[in-house]
Symmetry: C2
Subunit: 204 residues, 2 copies
DNA sequence: TTTGTGACTTACCGTTCGGTAAGTTTCAAG
DNA sequence: CTTGAAACTTACCGAACGGTAAGTCACAAA
């Protein structure tokens, strides 16, 4: 049970609970009643705020997508060199998954589910983020003439390495034990940086 | 609706349908009635063959896990050089996702869901595959003294790059269009090979 | 010809699902 | 003091869920 902090209105708290539960159990696995119960409310309270489960889910995804874009904007303004921008962004994404693992999980679920769900709601939450990523790559020396597809291929592999690892913590700790996972967690960023450099120092 | 081919008994056909539907919609999203309906059967027929939904899901996962292990055994016997073994295995995994995309999707879902589901069924389908992968890495020149965690970190990033891309086709085609996706699909394996070499030519 | 057995079916069961309808309570503005 | 809206509640609804019980039917063995 979550406490409803005084400075945060119910709607925001519901959104936060929904993010956590959707990330953990998926759209079908998390019921609106269970989400509302986190705040000791009934599901009708949730309906009152969001209209429907589908709209609630949409807001959750939109929020995550916005955060991704914001992170990208921030990284590009914190650094001048495009290569450093990309490295900073990917490193931060890796860091984020430790503080907010729901983000990665939710995005992964959206990747898995958006085919069947798309028949109803056809919004592409990831679009601006991915398009932006491609632009950043195309500013890296040697990549100016790279096509959208070539740039995407390179960056998507790194994105995949990060995201996949981000959702694997429960499985990996169970299989390899806490100690090995801790060591893995330490080795990962170094290896990741190696991969980034190897990838972008060699244009297509 | 699927046709029940004459040489294939109902059980196998159900398993195949279940694999497809679980991959597409997840455990909660796919109902046993919907799976049975694919073969024009009732859900009770499915229960008759598998006992429960949970057991059916278990069999589906086990089958996929077995295929993964088989692919690894095959790759290690087709090649003598450990580096070539790994490259072959990862390349084949990339190829597999095109012919059987359900495999990647199902594994990703298991990665996402096994925390909540694990309270009930604690079988680690991926265990022997991942353990095997680590052993292969540790046979590569320069990696003999690498710890389990170091080897895992390196190979897991590549696994992530492949798996993440494998489940992204619907999203990527919708965002970037069919033409760009086709070009991306062409560029991907080359980039992947570059990443493999960069990763394993530099031990920790 | 009887007896079993595997492969199903129809008929249910209790539970949960998302959502609607119609309140009740709180509280601030007029 | 009244009005009205926001923020909820209880009481439902029909549909779908996983699963049980009790058959029906085909067919092979005894």
């Amino acid at each position: 049970m979550l406490e409803k902090s005084p400075n945060e209105d119910t709607r925001t708290a519901l959104l936060r609970a929904a993010t956590r539960l959707f990330a953990e159990k998926g759209f079908y696995g998390a019921s609106i009643a269970a989400i509302a119960r986190e705040l000791d409310l009934t599901k009708q309270a949730l309906i009152h705020h969001f209209g429907s489960k589908e709209r609630l889910y949409g807001e959750v995804l939109q929020q995550i997508a916005d955060e991704l874009v914001a992170a990208m904007v921030e990284a590009t303004s914190d650094q001048a060199d495009p290569m450093a921008q990309l490295e900073l962004l990917l490193t931060r994404m890796y860091d984020t998954h430790k503080t907010r693992p729901e983000q990665s999980r939710l995005l992964m679920r959206e990747l898995l589910d958006n085919r069947p769900r798309a028949e109803r709601a056809d919004t592409w939450y990831l679009k601006s983020f991915l398009k932006g990523l491609v632009v950043v790559v195309q500013r890296i020396p040697g990549w100016q003439s790279a096509s959208e597809a070539e740039a995407l291929a390179a960056v998507y592999q790194l994105l995949g390495a990060i995201s996949y690892y981000a959702i694997s913590e429960p499985t990996l700790t169970r299989i390899f034990g806490k100690a090995t996972y801790a060591e893995l967690d330490e080795a990962f960023p170094t290896r990741l940086r190696l991969l980034m450099r190897a990838s972008f120092e060699r244009p297509p």
